[in-house]
Symmetry: C2
Subunit: 336 residues, 2 copies
């Protein structure tokens, strides 16, 4: 089974965005604030939004199951307060749950958390628990910068985040470290903020001692690990300077990179530099970058066919690390 560990519901029916725009308008004009129940999307609409999209590409390219989460760039934790984030996360997670019930062969859920800048992460626990218990989700997305590009939260290795980590251990789930839309004009969302956040998280994990406190905690760094694999020599050198163990000890027992690198030389570097057990197949499809690559004539995404053809074990790693538990739901565990 080929598992794609990084898919967002980027094709949700327009009604979702419309409701969200009303919610955002309601922040300044409370009388306009819509109720969650006012969002009505039928199963047929959900089916329609999906069936000509992700499963078609998955079939064409040989993927089987996608770990599916709400659209990352729509999380936008910096808009509104915790109550706004809470309602929005709840709606988005429920839609993911419905999609995964409608297409159980294709999707299994990962939760968006109701993060909000400056708010204690433990406020996210209730939605996290609900997503695991009621929806059978298998992972969460954790935003290291709910401010959207101002980076005012402490590093991921700080105790600030520990309530989330305790729950991750309790549910035995990994977190994908994933920011949302940037509201800082310096950072283009998908071209800078996403990649910078990935790089930043890797360096935080190298610098800190988080995995002494949580030896079985697992993180997936999306977008091929940001800049980290390309600069692996730099990170090996920095770990040494910081008198940390080798990266294989300090980082790679707990940190995994997805394969979302949209060109073959990048994928080649990733698989050459990072041990294959630390790479999870992923396509971020239908992705943040949706164009047709004129050089290849296909949608810009991880060249997944190559993985299968090459016989490399990376996609198999994802499959191998998946086990059926809890009444048939599929859980991702990268524990070795």
């Amino acid at each position: 089974m080929i598992i794609d560990c990084h898919g967002h519901y980027t094709t949700a029916p327009k009604a979702l965005e419309t409701w969200r725009n009303r919610q955002i308008a309601g922040i300044s004009e409370p009388a306009q604030m819509p109720k969650a129940a006012e969002l009505k999307i039928s199963d047929d609409e959900l089916r329609e939004s999906i069936e000509t999209n992700q499963p078609k590409f998955m079939k064409e390219r040989g993927g089987d199951l996608t770990i599916f989460s709400p659209r990352a760039s729509f999380m936008v934790h910096h808009i509104g307060d915790f109550a706004v984030s809470s309602t929005w996360a709840s709606i988005c997670n429920e839609l993911i749950h419905r999609v995964s019930k409608l297409f159980p062969e294709n999707f299994i859920g990962a939760a968006m958390l109701p993060q909000s800048p400056g708010v204690d992460p433990k406020t996210c626990i209730s939605e996290l628990d609900r997503s695991m218990k009621e929806y059978g989700f298998v992972a969460i997305n954790l935003n290291p910068d709910p401010s959207g590009g101002h980076w005012i939260s402490p590093p991921l290795t700080d105790r600030h985040w520990y309530p989330i980590y305790e729950k991750m251990v309790e549910w035995d789930i990994p977190a994908m470290v994933h920011v949302s839309t940037s509201c800082n004009a310096c950072f283009h969302t998908t071209g800078a903020h996403y990649i910078n956040a990935d790089t930043t998280a890797v360096m935080q994990f190298i610098q800190g001692d988080l995995f002494k406190d949580f030896p079985i905690l697992k993180f997936v760094i999306p977008h091929g690990g940001g800049a980290a694999p390309y600069h692996w020599g730099r990170y090996r050198g920095l770990a040494q300077e910081l008198k940390k163990p080798l990266l294989t000890e300090q980082l790679l027992k707990n940190v995994f990179f997805d394969a979302c690198v949209y060109h073959q030389p990048g994928v080649d570097l990733l698989t050459k530099v990072i041990p294959v057990d630390n790479i999870l197949f992923a396509s971020e499809m239908i992705s943040a970058v949706r164009g047709i690559d004129p050089r290849r004539g296909i949608i810009t995404t991880t060249p997944s066919a190559t993985w299968r053809r090459s016989g490399r074990s990376a996609p198999r790693t994802a499959a191998r690390s998946t086990k059926a538990t809890r009444g048939g739901s599929i859980r991702v565990s990268t524990r070795r």
Copy 2:
């Protein structure tokens, strides 16, 4: 001639740091503020700080001339106001000038600018002019985030920066986009802030239209271009989505990547993905990462010997793009 386009004076005599610490103390206690003239470093001390260091490694590895600038992590533009930055930049640039006079075969200068958060970049012009006119420097380092990790300046494509660009055109000099020490706990200086800034700058140049206004402006993105070459497929896709010309048109006529990628697979990717005319040899030596790589038994730095052995033209590109002008000083021009 093999030119290394990225060297900082990381081995300056201790007296420099001591003076700087007094200056920083003087910000809160003005009575303690030292005069510039109180810093005394003899030519012998300068010679001693250099001769057993950079030229030795350059000789060992086959480099000829290094474009040499003040230590990037010591620029720390976020400490103090413009007056503090101005005195500090002036001192640091003068030392670079003295080193390049003492070792004219080995070094030629690039200027640090007296940037300060929230201060108009045109305040830097006087130091820039002085560095070119009096010192014969051939480049500048431009910090896109003088706040040190809070990113409160506009993107590099904003008119905010135009006074610097007008001077760059006037003097026909390139700028290396280079941040300094991070004061944001999220960002490790050399492991996250540097690399993020590189990635951010590349995406700003893709997103903006700066080179329509300044067709001959030239930037060097250090540290192998941050994450950009590794994610070249993503950037090609984003340029397409943004309806920009191909990266060869939109970016690569004006933007060049240095070769500071501290492991062979990274260098291989860089030279495979980026046209060779856009790669400038650089070692960032004696670098931000100074350890001995246990796998190679040498200082962690760009494996320069490989460039020479491989016969690739990247180092030759740097040489080819260098021309002697103005009474024998060497200027770097990447114009084709």
